[in-house]
Amino acid sequence: MINVTAKYFAVFREKTGKESEVLLTSAATAGDLFTEVATRHLFSDPMLRCKVAINDELAGWDSGISEGDIVLFFPPVAGG
């Protein structure tokens, strides 16, 4: 088990009611962690339409996560 910080933006922040939370997790990848939080917070957007960044760097869903990482969950984007 590792401790990571999950950060939420836009609709994810509204659904969770918080900007971030520290999680004790057995998730090995960013995608595993997304599945965990999406289930708990009832996210409706499919993972593949969302993005993830680890420690401020965009990452793939299969990227590994480590103790102390800050994992940013981005809902579907809408720039422009």
């Binding site: 509204e14 940013l72 809902p75 984007v77 809408a78 720039g79 422009g80």
Partner: protein
Amino acid sequence: MSRSNFKITNEPIDIAVLNQTLRDDSAGAYASFEGWVRNLNDGKNVNSLDYEAHGVVATNEGEKILIEAIDRYKLLAATSFHRIGHLEIGDCAVWVGVSAPHRGPAFDGCRYIIDELKQRLPIWKKEHYQDGDSDWINCLTAKD
């Protein structure tokens, strides 16, 4: 040497100043794109909207897109500013400008940049409607 300049800003975009930064004696073409806030989306009357971004990731990714465009289309310079915060109908939400030796690469490079920005930047838009409702929009539901 080619120049790129991407910025997330909560200030109005001063286009007259920005397009001068693209000047180059070897440039025969300049192309730009402005994205404006419009009053209708998906059949709903929009009053205003709020943009939110992750500043660090959006700025790094935006800069990467400009450099990709410069390399791919042999641009002389590329600049793009994207607004965050509260915007009203008609406000410029995003501006892209490029200079190149000829018009073809200028048009193509400008198009590449705005298309990639819309897909890749962690920026979110919440529309406020005339009926008092509001909703988050994403690029798969937005038409343009």
